[in-house]
Symmetry: C3
Amino acid sequence: METVATTAELQAMLEMATTINMEVFYWWCTGLMVIIHAGFLAYEMGASRLKNALASGVKNILAFAFIVPTFFFFGWWIYLAMYQGFTPDFEAAAAGAPWALNMGPNLTDNASGIFWGAFVLFAATTASIFSGAVIERIRMSAFIILAILLGSVVWILGAAWGWHPTGWLTTDLGFHDFGAAGCVHMVAGFFALGVIINLGPRIGRFDESGKPVSIEGHSMPMTVIGLMMIIVGFFGFLGGCIIYSGTAQWTTIFGTPATLSSISFNTLMAFSGGIIGAYIMTRQPFWMMSGALAGIFSAAPGLDLYYPPLAFLMGIIGGLIVPLADKFITKVFKLDDAVGAFAVHGVGGLIGIIGAGIFLAGYPNVEDYPPISFMGQLLSGLVMAALGFIPGYVVSLVMAKFGVLRVPPKAEIAGLDLVEVPLTAYPESVPAASTQPEKPATV
Amino acid sequence: METVATTAELQAMLEMATTINMEVFYWWCTGLMVIIHAGFLAYEMGASRLKNALASGVKNILAFAFIVPTFFFFGWWIYLAMYQGFTPDFEAAAAGAPWALNMGPNLTDNASGIFWGAFVLFAATTASIFSGAVIERIRMSAFIILAILLGSVVWILGAAWGWHPTGWLTTDLGFHDFGAAGCVHMVAGFFALGVIINLGPRIGRFDESGKPVSIEGHSMPMTVIGLMMIIVGFFGFLGGCIIYSGTAQWTTIFGTPATLSSISFNTLMAFSGGIIGAYIMTRQPFWMMSGALAGIFSAAPGLDLYYPPLAFLMGIIGGLIVPLADKFITKVFKLDDAVGAFAVHGVGGLIGIIGAGIFLAGYPNVEDYPPISFMGQLLSGLVMAALGFIPGYVVSLVMAKFGVLRVPPKAEIAGLDLVEVPLTAYPESVPAASTQPEKPATV
Amino acid sequence: METVATTAELQAMLEMATTINMEVFYWWCTGLMVIIHAGFLAYEMGASRLKNALASGVKNILAFAFIVPTFFFFGWWIYLAMYQGFTPDFEAAAAGAPWALNMGPNLTDNASGIFWGAFVLFAATTASIFSGAVIERIRMSAFIILAILLGSVVWILGAAWGWHPTGWLTTDLGFHDFGAAGCVHMVAGFFALGVIINLGPRIGRFDESGKPVSIEGHSMPMTVIGLMMIIVGFFGFLGGCIIYSGTAQWTTIFGTPATLSSISFNTLMAFSGGIIGAYIMTRQPFWMMSGALAGIFSAAPGLDLYYPPLAFLMGIIGGLIVPLADKFITKVFKLDDAVGAFAVHGVGGLIGIIGAGIFLAGYPNVEDYPPISFMGQLLSGLVMAALGFIPGYVVSLVMAKFGVLRVPPKAEIAGLDLVEVPLTAYPESVPAASTQPEKPATV
């Protein structure tokens, strides 16, 4: 140490150190969230039949690739502009216009690219959630358009409304959602629901009497390992949900105080509860690991505030309900959600948001915003459900009407790897001749 | 920068910054340790035969899920209370009681949940270590009870004794074990040894004359990739072994000074030595990657102090001995440790602890605690071995007597995926008809 | 907070905090780069045929294991010594001699081991890049020697020249290469090119008329997941390319200012561009994920400076060109690069270096070093190409002359797993009898 610095110099050094460490924190959040995508890739390829494995992978990779630039060109702007509802705040959003000085290397702005990076990984996650539901029969072009719509428009509008310091759901309804159960999970899950209604089930998913016929993916181990990798990545995701202040206590994105320590407690407890709940209900590893995710989502809005055994309980509830919800939409509505994305993310997220309304009601907010309340959470949850469902349903309906949503039955039966990729997943392995009855689509 | 802060304000800001960055450090340790579990999942499913792959995965996932809440309810308390041996220090442990204000969101405690999170991942690691040894024949209920016993009681008692600032092994014997070779690896390895004695070998593991018959897992690539993922996770694990002081030099958990820089040198050198040692001995990738782990454990107690070529040498020694140790218990004692968990973790950890006694003898301790010594390390190693072995042996013996330890031979022959899960790992692939001779168990 | 510290004490505390956080940053870089190796393991085993899968894995693991100690004993010294060309600076390199006090635990040096750790992972990455090109026919001993040559001598000489604060390419030519596209990617790619010329194609890779016959790896999903894991690891790699100053702005390794924020923007944009470019060209996932890598390399030299849409464009260009480059060397030169390593890393890196010459020309340098220029980048790129190519070509030529480079045709046809490992990758699966025509090598 050379000459002694003045307090002013020390303060400047400390503030720069804090800026640097903030960048580092979100950089690792971003890097770890890429593991979510390695996980989704394994999960969705494993959940596809041999003939479709690579095509599912291609879609998953392309969704990520298209969301990044579109989120650069307009997604980030939407977040900064639309927090009041549908009226953009052009002034606030100026820094997010693709030509703004903040949207590129800028030695006076160590923040924009780092936050954008974390957000774009959230965006890509919504697309990957949706992606699993529609495998094995959606058309590539339709998928990409829907993925961009979800990842660079719809969810980020939800984030502007309900996952933003001054989003209207928070300022008007006291909405509290630490871990983005609403804008990420519910929006993506309900968007997927809207699409699969118009997309229709895979050929053979229901027999002539309408009874569901199970279609198993070709590699359950690959799927389960992929799901555990998604859990790893959630440490990046949940890190990306807390605001690093550096020389002051952490806050949620809503400005309420929090600690990373509490997130550690509650994430692990909710994860465990989700596994145990799903194990009780199903005894099989696909739902156990899906339950692990659902457990986290079921506690996500209150990870900052729950007593850990309560997070555990919320996890169990999520793990118990989510497989039933999937069975319900399959049996009753004859919907084919290939990986249970609606149940895990849509229903899991809704449980989380309503649970926070029950267990955290009355918790105060910053400024003069209303405190957490059951009605505030319920209404906000409905807004998120509608925000996801409506665009997914409407746009896929139009696509279906024009016949551009789904591959032709012939291609579906032959397998998308042959038609779209074209490459064989395992050229040296012998597949079992015909594993599932292939019948004409009932849709 | 606005108005200049006073030195008191600056100091408060710096201390808060340090607290925040401490939380961040252990948060990433925890997140990276979840990769250990993704790795174990791949490793143990790959090491199982086709008929048992998913059942092995289910056990692995359930172990993690049950250890988290039990470690919340009593494991952490044991750590804080039992450092003197078997006499609890109720006062010191009050902060770890599940109803304590520290065991949940608390804006004045940014540490408890973060440390608890890292420790619970250590706990889950012990269960996953044990899990591999007993695959393909243990009963689910017995496994879960044993996993909780190991992960939320036994190892953490070992940690209180020998991986704690004032654990009696350190204060009385000068025990030094930077990387938890004792409480994590030896305890888990010897616990596994105790259980497999009573569990007995898989049907067909030894022929009628008692000669071992190799039972290969169904996917060696999956196993090897899983092992490399465990290595990745060890950067979280070893990060979790060093105390972040923020504005002062790092220390070990025993309070002796250290640098993360030295851990970087020695971890990589020991890892490499382990691979090379095991390659010389076996030329095959399963043992090479197991050797990589064993190499790290063989140097783990002295990662803070070794000259890197010595860590490399310790790694080679570990890599050479561990496959032999596994062969020895198989051939001589007719034990069936399905993945060599006892050899890799139990023997690897013991090499590490004794090695530190040889190469670090005389290194001073903090306070008036005795310095590192050969006898101190040897005795502490024996304590860890006994602490792992006895509960594993006794509880599994009782379970075996009551006939609740092992699945019936019929279920074992049919495969646990059919009996327990029930789901098929690869529904579209053709398995080779009968790959291993299935004979009645010799136990 | 107790008594108030003086400004001198505060400054010391802040400087120590900065040192600690610097260590933490590079520790995570190192840990995340280990994921690159888990990824390469999956990628290269998946890209091998069933009969060679484990042998490819063994080579990959051994390369890592041998590079660590050799990089300790002489690699790091080369980096510190050789920045002027071929004349070592013994004084500057003294701290990197294996007996130096800096090369081990040292409470006054928190930096050496951490930087060495990150660099050794870069070194191991070069070996893994090379490894993929030569699978399925190179002899183990030859491979290890070549891997050590590349990873602990050649690339690090390139780093001393062109990825060092005072490397001669920078001080004389103004060379700018933020993300090590030259010393890591080009050197490794051109080294691989030099070796495959002498190694010759796999038996059956070209038919009698010299027409290429595609040889598919046994598991495309494993390969694609592995590639996505490499992307994850690149967040560690690119983190390792930026200098943490703690209380002042980040710099590149050349001393020019930068932000991590800009790296976040541009890495994600280039990654996406690479996927889209390769998808347009090939529509298949192997090249899409290889294109993701190539996209990053194509923008790597300017990740600190590009406007993000330019990084996206560079990524697209890389993604478009790289598959063509691979086709070109296959068709025209009858070379067999099993995974396209030369195209992805060699050509991708060259695109990056020349692109920076086009788009960043005139950007000023530190000290009185020349600014970035097209000719400076072109000449430096040629130096990197030659530096990689010549040793790879010459040493493998000598090995080929002595008949120690390649396994005998009999062993190649039987499969290296049988000959070298010996273990079967999937003992319970039925392989398709003979998938590719096995004809005598044309070399």
